[in-house]
C-alpha cells in the first residue's frame, strides 16, 4: 500500500510537468497546426533562466516564476514572428519540421552558452518532507505540482472566459469562421504560441525545485509530452493535461513494480493499449 501510494505521488509529480509540456503542444497544434517539437527546449530555457536568477540574485524559483513565464512568452512571440509565421506560408513539410530544427538550435545554443554540465539550485525556500507513516511526501516536489495545477487552471480559465482565450478556441475550431467574425488569426497565433512557451516556461521553472538542469533536459519531456498529447486526443487541452498525468503515473508504476529500466516500455504499453481502444485519444471527439 505504502509503495503503491508513494509511486502514485511520484508519478503525479512527474506527470504534472509532462502535462504542462503537453498542454503547450496541444494548444499550438490545435490553433495553427504546427507540431511543436521545441516545447521541451522552452522548458529547458526557463530552467536555465530560473537557475541564473537564483545564482546571481538569489531568487527562489517560486519568485522567478512570473519572470520566467514573461520571458518565455516574449521569446515565444518572437519565435512565432521570426520563424513560425514564415513556415506557415511554406510547404507542409517545412511546417512539420521547423520546430524540430529550432529545438536542435536551442539545445546547441544552450550547450555553447551554459556548457553541458549538470546544475542544480542548491537551496530552495520550501524543503523537507511530510511523513505520513506509510509514505513520505517531499515538499520540494509538491511545490512544482501545485504550480503546475495552478498554471493549468489558469490556462483553462483564460481559454474559456477571456475574450482572447475565446478567440483562440474559435480559431482552433474553425479558422475560416473565426476570420469571418472578425478575429485576426495572425494575432491569435502569435499569442497562442507565446502562451504555449510561457506554460512550458512555468513547468521548467517549477521543475528546477528538485530537478537538475542541463541542455538536453527537455528531450525526454518533449517526447513523452507528445505521447501525452496523442493519448489525450490530439489538440484537446484538457486531454493533454490528463494524458500527461497518466504518463507520469505509468512511468512511476513500471519503475516501482517491474524495473526502472523498463519504464519507457511501461509508458509505451499503456499508450498502445489506450490507442487500441480509443484511437482518437481520451478526449478526442468525432
Amino acid at each position: 500500500m505504502g509503495m503503491f501510494m508513494q509511486a502514485l505521488f511520484e508519478g503525479v509529480i512527474n506527470g504534472s510537468t509532462l502535462a504542462l509540456v503537453a498542454m503547450g503542444i496541444a494548444l499550438v497544434w490545435g490553433v495553427m497546426g504546427i507540431l511543436s517539437f521545441s516545447q521541451g527546449e522552452f522548458l529547458m530555457i526557463a530552467m536555465f533562466c530560473s537557475f541564473y536568477l537564483n545564482l546571481y540574485f538569489g531568487f527562489d524559483p517560486i519568485v522567478s516564476l512570473p519572470f520566467c513565464m514573461a520571458v518565455m512568452f516574449v521569446i515565444g512571440i518572437a519565435i512565432y514572428k521570426l520563424i513560425i509565421s514564415r513556415a506557415l506560408r511554406g510547404p507542409v513539410l517545412s511546417q512539420r519540421l521547423i520546430t524540430f530544427a529550432l529545438s536542435m538550435v536551442l539545445i546547441n545554443m544552450a550547450l555553447l552558452l551554459f556548457s553541458g554540465s549538470f546544475k542544480t539550485i542548491p537551496k530552495v525556500m520550501i524543503s523537507g518532507s511530510i511523513d505520513l507513516g506509510f509514505m513520505v511526501l517531499s515538499k520540494q516536489k509538491i511545490v512544482p505540482f501545485i504550480i503546475s495545477v495552478c498554471v493549468a487552471g489558469f490556462m483553462f480559465w483564460f481559454l474559456n472566459k477571456t475574450r482572447m482565450g475565446k478567440a483562440i478556441r474559435a480559431v482552433s475550431m474553425n479558422k475560416t469562421a473565426a476570420g469571418l467574425v472578425g478575429i485576426n488569426p495572425e494575432k491569435t497565433y502569435a499569442i497562442a504560441f507565446g502562451l504555449s512557451a510561457a506554460i512550458a516556461g512555468a513547468a521548467g521553472c517549477a521543475l528546477t525545485y528538485f530537478y537538475y538542469i542541463y541542455p538536453n533536459v527537455g528531450t525526454n519531456f518533449q517526447l513523452f509530452g507528445f505521447i501525452a498529447v496523442v493519448m489525450g486526443g490530439f489538440g484537446s487541452i484538457p486531454g493533454a493535461f490528463f494524458g500527461g498525468l497518466i504518463m507520469g503515473v505509468a512511468d512511476a508504476y513500471t519503475g516501482v513494480y517491474m524495473n526502472p529500466a523498463f519504464k519507457y516500455v511501461g509508458i509505451c504499453v499503456v499508450f498502445l493499449l489506450l490507442v487500441q481502444f480509443r484511437p482518437k485519444g481520451l478526449f478526442g471527439g468525432k
Binding site: R163, K166, A167, R169, A170, M173, N174, T176, A177, A178, G179, L180, V181, G182, I183, N184, P185, G285, K286
Partner: protein
C-alpha cells in the same frame, strides 16, 4: 475613389421606384458594394474571369449560376478569403480589394460561409457571442442578442446546446444569426439552402426576407435559382467565371430564354 460611387442621389423613402423601372435601371439608391472586373482563382488556375456587379443599399442581390460556375470563388475573393488576381471591390466608395475578412467585419460586412462553419465545440449562444467579437460593449451585445433571438426563436430554444449536435437547418439558422451579431450593413450568404430539405429552404428564405426588411443589404449566392429569383430584388448570373446576365429578379424569372439557358428551368 471612382466618381460614379460619389453620385449618391437621395434615397427613395418608399424604395419602390427603382424596382418599378422597366429597363431594370436602379439608380436612386446609394451604391454599397461595387465589384469591377473581378478575377480570382487558386494557384495558377483562374476560376473567376470577369465578374461585375453593383449592390445598392437595402436590396437583396442574388448571384446565381450552376455548379462550378465560380459563384463561391467570387465570394471568397470579395471577402478576402482568397486574394483576388485582378479587378476592384469597392465598399461605400472605399477600395477594399483583398482586405482580410476580419477587417471587412469591422467595416460592416458579414459573411455566412457555405457549409455553416460553426464553432462546433461551443454552445449556440457562445457561437452567437463570437459573432459580436469586435463589439466590446456588453450592453449592446445583449441587445443585439435579443434582437437576433427575436428573429430566430428556434435558435433561442437551443442556446445551451453544443453547435455540433444541431440539425442542418438549425445550424444554418445559427450561422445566419451569428453573421447578424456583428450588426452588419451588408450580409453575404453563401448557399444557405445547401443540403436542406425544401421546407427548411423556404424557412431560411423567409428569414432572409425578414433580415432585409430590417434594413440589412443582402447578397445571396444560390444554386436554387427559382426560389432565389422570387426573393431577390436584383440578380446576376455567373457562367464560366463571367457575369453573363443581370436584371430584376422577377423579370429574369419571367424570361423563358434566361430560364432555359442558365437556370436549368
Amino acid at each position: 475613389m471612382g466618381n460614379e460611387s460619389l453620385v449618391k442621389t437621395q434615397a427613395d423613402p418608399v424604395g419602390e421606384a427603382g424596382k418599378a423601372a422597366p429597363d431594370g435601371a436602379i439608380t436612386d439608391k446609394e451604391i454599397l458594394l461595387e465589384v469591377v472586373d473581378l478575377q480570382a482563382g487558386y494557384n495558377d488556375m483562374t476560376v473567376v474571369r470577369d465578374v461585375c456587379f453593383t449592390v445598392r443599399k437595402g436590396e437583396i442581390l442574388a448571384i446565381l449560376g450552376s455548379n462550378g460556375s465560380g459563384k463561391t470563388t467570387t465570394l471568397r475573393a470579395l471577402t478576402g478569403t482568397i486574394k483576388p488576381m485582378g479587378g476592384t471591390v469597392r465598399y461605400r466608395g472605399e477600395d477594399i480589394t483583398g482586405l482580410p475578412p476580419y477587417e471587412l467585419v469591422e467595416k460592416g460586412i458579414a459573411m455566412v460561409p457555405e457549409g455553416r462553419m460553426l464553432f462546433g465545440g461551443m454552445s449556440v449562444e457562445d457561437n452567437l457571442l463570437m459573432g459580436a467579437y469586435l463589439n466590446r460593449d456588453k450592453q449592446a451585445i445583449k441587445k443585439r442578442l435579443d434582437l437576433v433571438y427575436g428573429l430566430f426563436p428556434r435558435v433561442q430554444e437551443r442556446k445551451r446546446q453544443i453547435a455540433n449536435t444541431l440539425s442542418g437547418g438549425e445550424q444554418q439558422m445559427v450561422a445566419i444569426a451569428r453573421g447578424l451579431m456583428s450588426d452588419p450593413q451588408l450580409l453575404i450568404l453563401d448557399e444557405p439552402s445547401l443540403g436542406l430539405m425544401p421546407i427548411l429552404v423556404q424557412e431560411i428564405f423567409r428569414f432572409v426576407k425578414e433580415i432585409a426588411d430590417l434594413g440589412v443589404t443582402v447578397v445571396i449566392v444560390e444554386q436554387n435559382a427559382m426560389d432565389t429569383l422570387a426573393l431577390c430584388d436584383y440578380a446576376i448570373v455567373i457562367q464560366n467565371g463571367e457575369s453573363v446576365i443581370e436584371g430584376v429578379g422577377q423579370e429574369l424569372l419571367a424570361n423563358e430564354d434566361v430560364k432555359r439557358a442558365y437556370l436549368g428551368g
